[in-house]
Point group: C2
Chain length 381, copies 2
């Protein structure tokens, strides 16, 4: 975390009694109690099942949160982009796995430079041309690059499309003294939000089967302890059952969101609690049945469900988008509305892209603002 | 524009031949030729119709673009948030109209401070309680604040709901020596994207009728040259016909977007050209009918239509979202795909929230990157 970060208009409220209710809005609010519960719950799950954690920073983009994940036992973090990886390495976070192929030449140059100052950096690869480019760049720099084979387990987004293609890449990597084969990755992004738990479980087990075959073959070829990385918050407890994965790339569990809350968890319910909200204020109140707040589609991701009103409003109050900077709160009972200036908090609809719209986490404990953390890698596409 | 802005990984390409095709992606690309055409076309329209321009910076959030709008004849700019207004005033942009009510006490304090260093700042008001708070704050600071009455012309978002309510606010303002009544605002946000031109025209004329009544009453009461501000890119040429408006808050015309391109313009077609694109690279190419690019829902707004592939891909190529960091390009003909590393440019779906996802404009002229401008007020909710 850089020392000269602008902590915004709420910095003077840190530590003040009742400051949560006095935040300048819109403000992204992180409830530390729920957040710490979530960190501990996933760490406990990993310990109990003997699985490694490499949580995904695409969700939070924060060095401070990555540090806490490492402190809670994670062996590293996953990053979606080179920019996120650079931010994490600058924050001295070890074991960064870049989970998307790094392809353009200018980026490969940055990747190799990053590899020289990082501890345990890894990057996925899914194509022989990209592999050749990585190999040439690592060789030229006189460095050794750790690579992980990305296997398409049904998302059809990135990844090789067959076990044969994966093994062909493995052979090339193993034959190179500029590359180290660190393992395989398979992320079933398309299954994380399958509503029905039993169906999600069945599909996930089926999808990850090729990863076990690959792992066994790599071991047979003498690859020591290959990582088999995958899963998301929707399948964290499912994907460890199959025996294929040995580490989890879970991201959303630290915050949860309306989208995951609408997915059926295992029996016993979600182990994770809502921790991430947008605080907003009523800025127009000229109608009996609704008011307008200062948080619209530049504050909340619009790719999933609607934000859910959680604090400060009468029961049954619903949110509706009203443009870039505005949202509408519709009251169940027109007699129980909210006055001008009232503040509410809304649970974020889809956490990753919602976080990416903000610069700061306003960390609260109970009713008090206690810290502000920068979203260091926001916009590092 | 601050002097210590980080111009990102493409800064070294400025002025290089063919640099547009070598941008590190994803990158927001502004085609200066189309952009300058759009600035000139709106300025010419304003001159021809005798209407004032106060373009909305919520679209571009850039001091550099605001400067060019002023240089092309705009009398000021409109801002959706206090943060945008602060950014514009810091960039020495005069005549900022804040188009949403500023309500919480901490923000009113900032507003009054801003008013003391700004030239011609104005803020809208739509409620007597807010007006009383503004009056008290201006009085206490010993300053005079210009206010504009926000009139709801059908969007039901902000604004007073009747001519009577507007006139009641006007009387309070005129009686105060800490406030100056600068005019009225009516923005028909709900009509900007009515597809059919004739229908949009009919509805817009009807919606703005109360503004003319108000203007006449204010003049009758002795208000000198009240501004009557409103309109968007969808109704810029319609709202000037009615005679109610005397200035335009248009924003999107500088860029255009897929959403406006799907709206029927006046006969003769849109006067404005697409100028804003996201450049993206193919990072996975393991399927005959589609590839994956490095621009997903953290690069494009998802509240409107899909991005439109405009450059670098075979005709008929369609974009589909594939998560936070990825998009899919689906080819019309599988035999005419794109290789790994190929670069494409996509026209932005809805310009305002798409811009807000980026930090920099990569300004191109033809095939060359010629300047990089910061998106100064990005995230200034």
């Amino acid at each position: 975390m850089s020392n000269n970060v602008n902590l915004g208009p709420n910095a003077t409220l840190i530590g003040a009694k009742g400051s949560r209710a006095r935040l300048t809005t819109p403000a992204l609010v992180l409830d530390l109690e729920a957040f710490e519960h979530n960190l501990a719950a996933m760490a406990a799950f990993a310990r109990a099942t003997g699985i490694g954690l490499r949580p995904h920073v695409k969700t939070h983009k924060s060095v401070e949160i990555a540090r806490r994940q490492i402190a809670a036992g994670a062996r590293g973090v996953s990053a979606a982009t080179l920019g996120e990886a650079e931010t994490m390495v600058a924050g001295d976070i070890p074991g960064v796995l870049i989970t998307s192929p790094v392809v353009p030449a200018a980026k490969i140059e940055r990747l190799i430079a990053l590899n020289q100052r990082a501890r345990g950096l890894m990057v996925v690869v899914d194509h022989p041309d990209n592999l050749a480019a990585l190999e040439a760049a690592a060789r030229q720099a006189g460095t050794r690059l750790r690579v992980v084979i990305d296997v398409d387990v049904g998302t059809k987004r990135t990844g090789v499309d067959s076990i044969q293609s994966a093994l062909a890449l493995a052979k090339i990597i193993m034959a190179s003294d500029a590359l180290t084969l660190s393992g395989v990755q398979g992320y079933a992004g398309h299954l994380q939000h399958v509503i029905d738990y039993a169906e999600r479980r069945r599909l996930s087990h089926e999808a990850l089967r090729p990863l076990a075959v690959l792992r066994d073959q790599l071991r047979h070829w003498g690859v020591m302890d290959p990582i088999v990385s995958g899963a998301g918050t929707g399948t964290f407890d499912i994907d460890t059952e199959g025996g294929a994965l040995n580490e989890l790339q879970v991201g959303s569990y630290v915050f949860m969101d309306v989208q995951y809350d609408e997915v059926e968890p295992a029996r016993g319910g979600w182990r994770f609690r809502p921790s991430l909200f947008v605080a907003a204020s009523v800025i127009s109140a000229n109608h009996p049945d609704h008011v307008t707040i200062d948080a619209g589609l530049k504050c909340f991701a619009t790719d999933g469900p609607l934000p859910r009103v959680m604090r400060g409003a009468p029961p049954g109050t619903r949110y509706a988008f009203m443009g870039d900077e505005h949202g509408r709160l519709v009251f169940a009972n027109a007699a129980e509305g909210l006055p001008l200036g009232a503040m509410v908090e809304c649970f974020v609809p889809h956490c990753d892209p919602s976080v990416n719209l903000h610069d700061l986490y306003h960390c609260v404990r109970g009713d008090q603002l206690v810290e502000i953390w920068p979203i260091d890698a926001r916009g590092r596409h």
